[in-house]
Structures are given as structure tokens and as C-alpha cells.
Amino acid sequence: MTGARRTVKNAKSEIAPFAVFFRTHYADTVRLARLLSGSNTFAEDLAQDAFTRVQRHFGRLDNPAAYLRTTTVNTCRNWHRGRGREAANIRRLGSPQIALPPEAAELSDAIKALPYRQRAVLVLRFWLDLSEADIAAALGCRLGTVKSLQSRALATLRKELPR
């Protein structure tokens, strides 16, 4: 009996860190994926894909949360660039649609139309409130590039949106 209990305990101790990490960050990662991808339908897939990649390196990561964030950014970028467009041809039955007020919908559409990195900068800056340095790390680019991307994104939105 004692032995069995010890076995269970040991098993838990092996999986607990990732399980805790997963439960702690899952919802926010889905939300991040949703904002980065613009897809409510595929946000969970993207988040799970990011977790899958993180899990493979989990034991060796100094800052798994930052790694997860970067991985989510990259996963969404890949989705957006390639398969995401194909995924548009895949319709899941019962996919929930989000209704937004007209002005918000207009802004949402304008942000969706931005190049991915510009959109990502906006999400990381205005939703996650990351510093420019952290955004640069997440995007794998220079600090100056972050400033430039944000500036261009906002300029485009101001141009596209009625006051």
C-alpha cells in the first residue's frame, strides 16, 4: 500500500510542473493566440500547438512563460502566413462567432488587415503591456524595429479609420 502510494506521488512529481504551468497559462495563451491570429475558431489549436512545442523543452527552460509567449507568437505567425489561409477553407461546425459593435468591428478588421508583425506588436504592447524590449525578444527583432512596427501600425489604423 505504501509502495503504491509512493509510486503515485513520484508520478505526480514528474508531471506536476508542466501540468501546473499548463493550467496557469492555458487560458491567457488561448486569448493571446486569438488576438494574434484573429481567429476565435483556431485559437485553442494554436495555443495547444504552442504548449506542445514548449513541453518538449520544458525541463530545460529558464523562463518557460517567456518561451511560451514567443512560441505562441511564432506559431500564430506560421498559421497566419500559410496554413491559416487554408484553414479559412475549413469550417468547423458550430464555430462560435463574436459580435462586436460596428466601430469595434471596424477597428478589429483594420487590425486584422495589418501585417502580422505590426499586429503582434499591438497585441503585445496594448494587451499584454509588454515593454518594447520584451516585445523585441518575443518577435526576435531589434528594439528599433518594434518602435517602427508600432508606429507604422498606428499610422495605418489612423489612416484607415474614420475619426
Binding site: F18, L35, E44, R77, G82, N89, R92, F126
Partner: protein, 439 residues
């Protein structure tokens, strides 16, 4: 710097985040049952995994215009430099040596390593066809920040006899395809099919000298999307060359779709070696036209060992060791990957036997073919899977851990059964007949 726009953006993000659908109590084990998606090739399967878990339904709407070849989005670098095929009348190879050597030379020539933002590397040893005279090599291109996979088709030539060389007859990096190429009586015609918006540049070169014969630019509208590609016809007259290299290059945008590239050779009919001419024509068709559009019956072409190409109605199923279709990851070594391609359209997935993948592989690829309402479903399964059956109870053969089925319109459900009797539904796919809207 705060602006009037920023509060609106913050509020929008908050609203969207709050309304995001999040499955309650998702267990972390869902992650261990997933395959990391193979970069740009495999998102359809990522969706499939989750759908599998919830025994859901995926509906794939077929392309509305099935006369247009499938296209996909990959990207590539600046096709600078000249790489003439050589004296095509005598079928001199561009280089003598292994297909890998020639392919590497081709990639270096077309996409110089000196470009700091562009690098390329061969992904696998050559995949030979049953004759040993044709080879396909996948390569990985890393333009800017993205990774994409392309394909080279090569032809073995022997000139002089006994001195084998290889020529690159087509490069296909997706996002752009050349089709219907004909060089007849000094006139070349063909089409470019692309779903990547931007300004495309079509150039026609003398295949022997590499000299530029003609060039055209075409604006591909922003509304161009996958599945509804633009088909651009072209015609060039007064061509005196006996063989020409046609290249299409679209730098597109660096942040979104990335550049695409396609190249094919076509030769006049007055070649001195008819058999070689047939080979060239056939191989060129492989990439430019898709040989399967006209050969609709299944053609199974099994190669030896772990490298295998199975063709069925326009789809090549390539089994390779290692990882392809995405960023290299040392942790993925030792995996078994399945790549399906069709005229540049490809998807892939990998399975790892170390227990980090699915215990029973439920990840499934779906690829459309050039035929209306026809697709292929394929998957890799571990040795523990004893059988695959469809909903009608028909057994689907498993060869080298791979099973596939060519399917038509309607719903398709598959079941895996392990050696110890466990049975699991893989996925239900629905193909909506052409012209119908998905439900």
C-alpha cells in the same frame, strides 16, 4: 506615447480576449496527445487533432474552379544569377555529380548564401523514382524570418555515356506554379497560377545560355487567396531558343506571404534524343502541370527503404526520416514524418516513437487533388496500430506505418485498432461537393 487610438485598441483587445472561446478544464494531457505542427505545412492537421479529440466534423470545401491547379503559399528568395541548363541539344547536365550536389549548386545559384536574410538547405537525401532516372529533393528556404519548403525535380542524364549527371528541371516552392508550358514554332505559351498578391515578374531565358529573352510584370491583386488563385496566361513570340527556362518571381511582402518562386524548363520538339525529351516533358509536367490532372487513376510508386513516394491521384506521400516542413529542431530527430504534396501543395506531420507523440496516431492529413470532389487522407501510425478501417468496415492497408485513402464527396470516418484491441475513431472528414456551401 499615448494616442486616442490606443485606448480603443486596448478596449477591443480586452473585449476580444474576454469573448474568446476557451474549453473549460482542458487537461494538459491534450498537449501530449498532439503533434507539434510541421510549420507551414500542417495546420489543417492541427485542426484535425482537436476535432479528433471531440469526434467532431471537419468540412472541407472544394475549390470552386477545379480547372485551376492547387496552389499554396511558400516563399523564396531573390532568384538572381544565371543557371542555364546547358546544351540541351546534347542534354548536358548543369553539373556532374550527385543529385544533392547539383541541387545544392542550383540553390546557391538561385538564392545566393551571400544574402544574409536568405539561406537554403536540402532537407533529405534524394527520393528516386522507380527508374532511378528522376529524383525529387525537398529543400528548406529561410527567407527573412520564415521557413518554407520547396521541391526540386531532377533528371538523370548520361553524356557522355557512363558519366552520369543531373539537371534540375523544375523548382517548385509553392505559391506560384507554371503550367501549360509549350514551346512551339518560336512561340512559348503557358500560365502562372498564384495565390500570393504582389507584383509578379515572369522571365523567359534561353536555357542554353541563360540569356534573358523576355520579361513581363503582372500585378496580382490583394484579394487573391488560397483556393482561388489568379491564373495569368502569357505568350512570348520570336523565340529562337530550342529550350527555355521560364521563371516566375513574386517578392510579395516580407512580413506576410513572403516571396514565391517557380521555374520550369520547356524545350522545342526538335531534340536529338526523343526518349530524353519524353523524360523532360514528363518531369516538367510533374511540377508545372501536375501529372495527375490527366492521370486520374491511382498510381502507386513505391520506392525502397525508409524513403518512399506513393502516388495516388495527384498526391505524393513521402516518408522520410526526420523533420521537414518547418524549422529544424534537434529534439525532433528520430521522428517519422509524413509529407503529402501535390504540385507544390503540401502538408506534413511527424510522429515520434519516444512516447511524446500520440499513442495511436490520430493526426491526419487531408490534401485536395486536381479532381473535383476528390481528396486524399493520409496518416502515420505507430507499430501498435494493427488495422485501419473506414466506416463501411473496409480495411485500409498500412504500409511502412502509413495509411492513406483517396476519398470523394461525403463524410468519411476512419478507425484505428491497436494490437491489444483498443479502437479509436480518427476523424470524420466531409467534402462538400463543388458548388455547395459548407454546412
Amino acid at each position: 506615447m499615448s494616442t486616442d487610438l490606443e485606448p480603443r485598441i486596448r478596449e477591443l483587445f480586452r473585449d476580444l480576449a474576454d469573448q474568446t472561446t476557451i474549453t473549460p478544464d482542458v487537461h494538459p494531457s491534450i498537449v501530449s496527445q498532439r503533434q507539434p505542427s510541421s510549420g507551414r505545412w500542417s495546420y489543417a492537421l492541427a485542426a484535425a487533432v482537436t476535432v479528433t479529440l471531440i469526434a467532431g466534423v471537419i468540412v472541407v470545401q472544394t475549390r470552386r474552379d477545379r480547372s485551376e491547379p492547387a496552389s499554396t503559399v511558400h516563399e523564396y528568395g531573390d532568384p538572381v544569377g544565371i543557371f542555364p541548363a546547358g546544351d540541351v541539344d546534347r542534354v548536358v547536365a548543369v553539373a556532374y555529380g550527385s543529385p544533392s550536389d547539383v541541387a545544392a549548386a542550383y540553390l546557391v545559384d538561385r538564392f545566393p548564401a551571400t544574402d544574409a536574410e536568405m539561406s537554403s538547405a536540402l532537407l533529405n537525401p534524394p527520393l528516386y523514382d522507380s527508374t532511378g532516372d528522376r529524383a525529387v529533393l525537398l529543400f528548406e528556404a529561410v527567407p527573412n524570418e520564415s521557413v518554407s519548403t520547396g521541391r526540386l525535380t531532377m533528371l538523370r542524364v548520361e553524356d557522355p555515356p557512363g558519366d552520369a549527371g543531373w539537371v534540375v528541371v523544375s523548382a517548385d516552392i509553392g505559391g506560384a506554379q507554371l503550367g501549360g508550358l509549350e514551346l512551339d514554332d518560336g512561340r512559348i505559351v503557358g500560365t502562372v497560377t498564384t495565390d500570393v498578391a504582389g507584383r509578379g515578374l515572369l522571365t523567359v531565358h534561353d536555357a542554353e545560355s541563360g540569356d534573358l529573352i523576355d520579361e513581363e510584370t503582372t500585378d496580382i491583386p490583394d484579394g487573391t487567396t488560397l483556393g482561388e488563385p489568379e491564373v495569368i496566361g502569357f505568350e512570348v513570340g520570336d523565340v529562337s531558343a530550342r529550350a527555355v527556362s521560364v521563371r516566375f518571381w513574386n517578392p510579395a511582402t516580407t512580413e506576410e506571404s513572403g516571396p514565391v518562386f517557380a521555374e520550369s524548363l520547356v524545350r522545342e520538339g526538335d531534340v536529338s534524343t526523343p526518349s530524353t525529351s519524353e523524360q523532360w516533358s514528363s518531369v516538367t509536367d510533374d511540377l508545372a502541370l501536375g501529372p495527375f490532372a490527366t492521370d486520374s487513376n491511382s498510381l502507386i510508386e513505391s520506392l525502397t527503404g525508409r524513403q518512399e513516394i506513393v502516388r495516388a491521384r495527384g498526391v505524393s506521400v513521402a516518408i522520410t526520416d526526420g523533420y521537414q516542413g518547418g524549422p529544424p529542431d534537434p529534439a525532433m530527430a528520430g521522428g517519422l514524418c509524413l509529407a503529402t504534396t501535390m504540385g507544390g501543395t503540401g502538408r506534413s506531420l511527424c510522429w515520434w516513437p519516444d512516447g511524446t507523440g500520440t499513442s495511436i496516431a490520430t493526426s491526419t492529413l487531408f490534401v485536395e487533388t486536381n479532381e473535383p470532389n476528390v481528396g486524399i487522407i493520409a496518416s502515420v501510425v505507430p507499430d501498435t496500430v494493427a488495422s485501419v478501417t473506414d466506416s463501411a468496415g473496409r480495411n485500409i492497408p498500412i504500409n511502412d506505418n502509413v495509411w492513406y485513402a483517396v476519398v470523394g464527396a461525403g463524410l468519411h470516418t476512419y478507425f484505428l485498432e491497436s494490437a491489444d484491441g483498443r479502437k479509436q475513431q480518427v476523424l470524420t472528414y466531409g467534402i462538400v461537393p463543388m458548388g455547395s456551401a459548407p454546412g
